[in-house]
Structure formats: structure tokens, C-alpha cells
């Protein structure tokens, strides 16, 4: 029996007991308790509305009107060949595949990650590495304050669990592929990922969300990351959901002393997309580099919500988000830098650049600095513009066609963020995707 969520707050709250009774019987009591606690958070909060300051540019009416259900047991028929088509050419990686939120072991290859390293489905880790998971799961992403984190914590099915012990390098990137399929009714999917990187250790994780159909579903992702002292994590979030999907995601990072994270977000699919990136630079001397590229067309809506929290002295953060918007699409960049009282010598910078390809595309960009310390350096800047006519003319005056000139300009714009990716094959795959997207935007004519 499928649990139906009809859009009301009550249906999500009341659905939990049925969820816990169907297929969750063998999960440990602490997880069930966590889920119950989290849903009471949602009961208090409900879905945000336009009057919530953090949601004033994103209307969730369509989500509230929708009716969704959890996927039935059993993995849809997804072939290995299909999965391989989402791979990155020449990249030697570990791969975990999830279909409609459920782990697909037959499609996955976690191989041999290395001595002491754990790369597996979170559901397995809860059973097999209970203490480790319990010490971190839901300890960072706050289910009492965020409705989507509450829902995810209540209803999460599965996701990746990565644990790298101290002084260890996870040599191969971990490719986490979340696939959604058309099940004939709109699904409610809650991927949950947990990444723990020990002291002086390194890892690269690629979260990749794709859809095999253009169906409607509600995908709600939460990823928690603990980046230990002096550790390094490069994280990718590649959002290629169905054009009719609702996609919400939160990346919550806890950074310990002298740790480095690099975050890349690519938003491409989805009808309404919300991308929350929330690192807390908890220890001294941390560094956060946060890059993003969002591309929207038609009536897509892409909302980027950054919250970079400087909680300790001598930390640096960089946010660099570029948006390309066409059609009647809308983009949002809400970048908050929060500097706590004790976080002297903070160096925080935020840049958001937007390129509008049509007269009807729209972007709301809102930088926000909240600073409780005098000895800091914080800057922010945002630009919104059309393609530079002078530059296009300059290129054409050298013999390049208008269409080609536009492609050159767009490529330069998107490379400002893509060039920071250290995994070449991922970068090249994305460059090609971006180019194809542009070519579609420009049509087959001369593009002028």
C-alpha cells in the first residue's frame, strides 16, 4: 500500500506511522525515534510560504497542491547500460546507484575503496556501522528549523555513506548516481547522504541526480558532511532532474580546524529547484570555496540559497555563482555570510553574475552580510546583464559568426565556475552538456 501525501501538513505528519510500519521494521529504534522527532519539527513548521524571508522569491504553491507517494519496494527495471551512460568518460571511480531513493546493489560497484575506508549505502551502514552513523546523522542538518530537512530526516530511504579514516586518501572519486523513473504516479523521494572525512584525509564525492523520464516527482535531498581537521573534500552536486520535478536539496558541511572544502553545484533540470549550501567553518583556519552554475529555460525556477557561517578566526570563504537564464525562467541567488562574534580575521567574498538570454527571464539576487566582529574582510557583488554587444561585435569583426561569437561568450561565462573542478572528465562532460544547451538556445539558425 502506497502512502499518499496530499499536500497538507497533516498528511506528511500522519503518514510517518504507516511508513515506519511498512518495510522499516528492521531499522534500529534510534532511527525510528529520530524520524518521529523530525516529523514533529515539520508539524510545527509546515511548508514555507512567500512571507518567510528565506522563501520570498520561491512560491511553493504547486508543491502544496501536489499529491505524492513513497516508491514501492523493488527496484525499477534500470539497465546497467543506462547507468553507464551517465558515467564520466575515462573516470576510474566507485559508483553507488539509487533508483527512486532505493539502493540498487546490482547496478553499483563500490569495489575496494582502500584500507579502513567505508563506501556503502546508508541503509547498510545504519545496520553495520551503527555507532559511527549515530554519532553524526542528523547532528548538523537542523530538522527543527527547516521543513525540508525535517521531511527528509523523517522519510529518508537511502543514500551514500562515506567514511574515510584519519590520514587516508580515498583515491577514487565516489560517483553517487540517483536515478528517478516514471512509476505512473508522482513519487516523494528523500535521498540522504552522510560523508565523514577524518583528520588529514582526502575525498571527492560526486552526487548526481538524473531522471529517465520527464515525470513529476518531489525529490528532497539532504547531505551532511563532516570535514575533519586538516582534511580536504571536493563535493559535486549535479542536478539533472526531470523538467517537471520539484527538487530541494541541502548540503550541510561541518568544517573542523584547517579543513578545506570545494563545493560545485550545477543546476540544470527541475521545474522548481532549491539549492541550499550551508558550510559552518567551525574550526580555525578553514577554507570554503563554493562554486555554482545554474542554467534555466522555459518556466524553470532555480533558487540558490547560500549560508556561509564563519564561527572561528582566520577562515576564508569564496562564493562564486553564475547563472544563465533564458525563456520565462526565474533565478534566485540569496547569499548570506554570517560572521560570529569570535571569528576575527574572517575573509569572505561572494560574487554572483547573471546573464539573461531573453527579455522575459528574471533573476533576484540578494547578498546579505551579517557580521558580529569588527576585524573582518567581507565583500559581495552581483551583476545582471545581457550578452555584451561590444564584445560580440569585436568577435564578429574578426570574422567569427554571430552564432559562434555568442557560443564563445557563453562558454567563457560558464567556464568561470567550471574551471575550478579538479576532475577533468566531469568538467569536460559538463562543458559538453553546457554547449549543447546553448546550441539549443540559439536554435539552428545564425542565432542573431
Amino acid at each position: 500500500m502506497a502512502i499518499i501525501f496530499d499536500g497538507t501538513r497533516e498528511s506528511y505528519v500522519e503518514g510517518l506511522s504507516e511508513f515506519l510500519g511498512s518495510g522499516q521494521e528492521d531499522t534500529p529504534g534510534w532511527v525510528a525515534d529520530l524520524r518521529r522527532e523530525a516529523i514533529s519539527g515539520f508539524g510545527e513548521l509546515g511548508f514555507p510560504t512567500l512571507s518567510d524571508e528565506e522563501w520570498r522569491f520561491t512560491n511553493l504553491e504547486a508543491l502544496r497542491r501536489g499529491s505524492f507517494s513513497i516508491a514501492e519496494d523493488g527496484i525499477s527495471d534500470v539497465s546497467k547500460k543506462t547507468v553507464n551512460s551517465y558515467g564520466f568518460s575515462g573516470l576510474d571511480c566507485l559508483r553507488l546507484v539509487f533508483v527512486n531513493g532505493r539502493f540498487a546493489s546490482s547496478l553499483s560497484d563500490a569495489g575496494d575503496a582502500g584500507e579502513g575506508i567505508v563506501v556503502k549505502a546508508l541503509s547498510e551502514a545504519i545496520r553495520e556501522d551503527g555507532d559511527l552513523v549515530k554519532g553524526h546523522l542528523a547532528k548538523y542538518a537542523d530538522y527543527e528549523k527547516d521543513a525540508f530537512i525535517s521531511l527528509n530526516t523523517s522519510y529518508f530511504e537511502d543514500g551514500v555513506f562515506v567514511y574515510v579514516p584519519d590520514r587516508t586518501v580515498l583515491e577514487k572519486p565516489v560517483h553517487v548516481l540517483h536515478v528517478s523513473t516514471d512509476e505512473g504516479r508522482p513519487l516523494f523521494i528523500n535521498p540522504r547522504n552522510l560523508i565523514i572525512i577524518g583528520q588529514s584525509s582526502d575525498a571527492k564525492v560526486i552526487e548526481h541526480y538524473v531522471s529517465l523520464s520527464q515525470s513529476v516527482y518531489f525529490s528532497n535531498v539532504v547531505t551532511e558532511v563532516v570535514c575533519g581537521e586538516d582534511a580536504n573534500l571536493e563535493h559535486y552536486r549535479l542536478e539533472f532532474e526531470s523538467r517537471k520535478a520539484f527538487n530541494f536539496s541541502t548540503l550541510r558541511v561541518n568544517q573542523q580546524k584547517n579543513s578545506n572544502i570545494t563545493s560545485h553545484s550545477i543546476l540544470y533540470g527541475g521545474a522548481i529547484v532549491r539549492n541550499n549550501v550551508h558550510p559552518v567553518l567551525a574550526g580555525e583556519g578553514c577554507n570554503s570555496d563554493i562554486y555554482g552554475l545554474f542554467m534555466s529555460e522555459g518556466r524553470q525556477h532555480m533558487d540558490n540559497f547560500m549560508r556561509v557561517e564563519h564561527a572561528s578566526p582566520h577562515c576564508d570563504s569564496r562564493q562564486f555563482y553564475n547563472g544563465v537564464l533564458d525563456g520565462r525562467s526565474k533565478g534566485v541567488f540569496h547569499g548570506r555570510i554570517l560572521v560570529h562574534e569570535g571569528a576575527e580575521k574572517t575573509d569572505a567574498k561572494q560574487t554572483n553574475r547573471n546573464l539573461l538570454l531573453s527579455d522575459t527571464a528574471q533573476i533576484d539576487t540578494k547578498p546579505q552580510l551579517e557580521i558580529y566582529n569588527d576585524d573582518v574582510k567581507c565583500t559581495h557583488g552581483a551583476t545582471i546583464g545581457q550578452m555584451d554587444e561590444e564584445a560580440l561585435f569585436y568577435l564578429c569583426s574578426r570574422g567569427v559568426s554571430m552564432r559562434k561569437a555568442k557560443i564563445i561568450m557563453l562558454r567563457a561565462f560558464t567556464n568561470e565556475t567550471l574551471e575550478h573542478m579538479s576532475i577533468d572528465s566531469v568538467k569536460e562532460t559538463l562543458e559538453n552538456t553546457v554547449m549543447k544547451w546553448f546550441e539549443q538556445r540559439l536554435g539552428n539558425g545564425d542565432g542573431s
Binding site: A391, F393, Y394, C396, S397, R398, V400, I408
Partner: protein, 244 residues
Amino acid sequence: MLEVKNLHVQVDDKEILKGMNITVAPGEVHSIMGPNGSGKSTLAQVLAGKETYEVTEGEITFQGKDLLDLEPEERACEGIFLAFQYPVEIPGVANTYLLREALNAKREYREEKPLKHVEFGKLARDKMKALGIDENLLKRSVNAGFSGGEKKRNEIFQMQILEPTLAVLDETDSGLDIDALKIVANGVNSMRDSGRSFIVITHYQRLLNYIVPDFVHVMVDGKIVKSGGKELAQELEEKGYADF
């Protein structure tokens, strides 16, 4: 090669060129001098095909073709090159990438084979060496963060690579020190031959000590008001434009 007849051009309903005439034969170097606001740069931009300038009357013929019928990129492929007064900065686009695309677009237009990376690299390095330009310039983004002098030298370098039939230099000398000026002049002089023409637009006579023109034209208020030989430039330097 180039014939401009009774050219009237306006921008935002304001007439800038008011019946401009000039004829350039193959191999000739023409200099157009004149005070600020006389329409010199407008002529340059119109020749390159800038859309914001509206041609209301007159005609431009280039090698027998109606230039006004051609898009900017077609004009470039036909052999026109404009060295911009203010070269545009394009962050994220490497000089080498732009130049190879441009050169190959031109070759394709002429139904020639595109140059391979290696071939292009050699061509570019040879030209740079001859011009005394640092090789790093190839990897840098087009004009981004360049000094004024570097931008102008980059224009000349592009001209050397693209080998136009008619090059229009729009105040390429302004803001250059004497060493940079010599590099620019050398770049032009080394390309002078019986089939290639230049229009050198300048405010000052100084450049013409190094690029010796066949003809000098004085442009005032959207028209050529006087034409002569190279000695006219010297005269203008001494007397200024007050007499016009």
C-alpha cells in the same frame, strides 16, 4: 579597392557623417586626421559593420561588392580589419582561441583548409617574435587586464595573423610610448605591399613619422575638407585644425 561615396551616418537621430567621400586604391596608405568628434571613429566602425550606426545615404563599395550588404563577419572574411580605438576586454576567452577561430573562419570562407593547432601555434609565435611581443599574450584572455599599450599591440598582432586586404587603424597610436609606437609602426610597415591598403586614423602627426602615408585627409564635422600628401600632416601639426 574601397570607395566611399556621399556617406551619411547617424546615431540616435544625430547626423555624424555628412557626405563623406574617400577612395583608396590597392597598396595605398591613407591617413585621416581631424579634431575630436569630427566622425573619424564613426567611419571606422561603419566600415567594420557596427549596427548602432545607421547609414541614411550614400554607398560603400569594397572590391566591387556593396559593403553595406555584408555582416561584420563577412566583411572580415572579405579582408577588412579594424584595429579598435578601445579594444574590448573579453575575460575567459584566450587570445589564441579567438585568433584561431577567426583565422579558420576566414579560411573556411575562402574554401581553404583550417589550420591545425600546431600550424597555428607556429604561425603565431613567428609573428610575435617579429613584433617583439611576449608569447604569454597568447594564453591570456583577450585584452583582459592588458595595459593600454598591450591592447594596441594585440590589435596589430591580430592584424598580422589575419592578413587583411584593407586595415583600418583607429587611433592605434593614442596613449603609446615611443617604443610601443615603433612596434605598431613596424607591424604596419612590414605588411605594406602593392595589394594591401591602410586607413590610419589619428589625432596626431607623430605616428606618421613612422608610417608614412601616401595621402592625408582632414576631416571636420563629418566631411573631408582637405586632402593632400604627407606634408599636410606636418602642416596640421604646426597650425592645428583652427583654420577649418
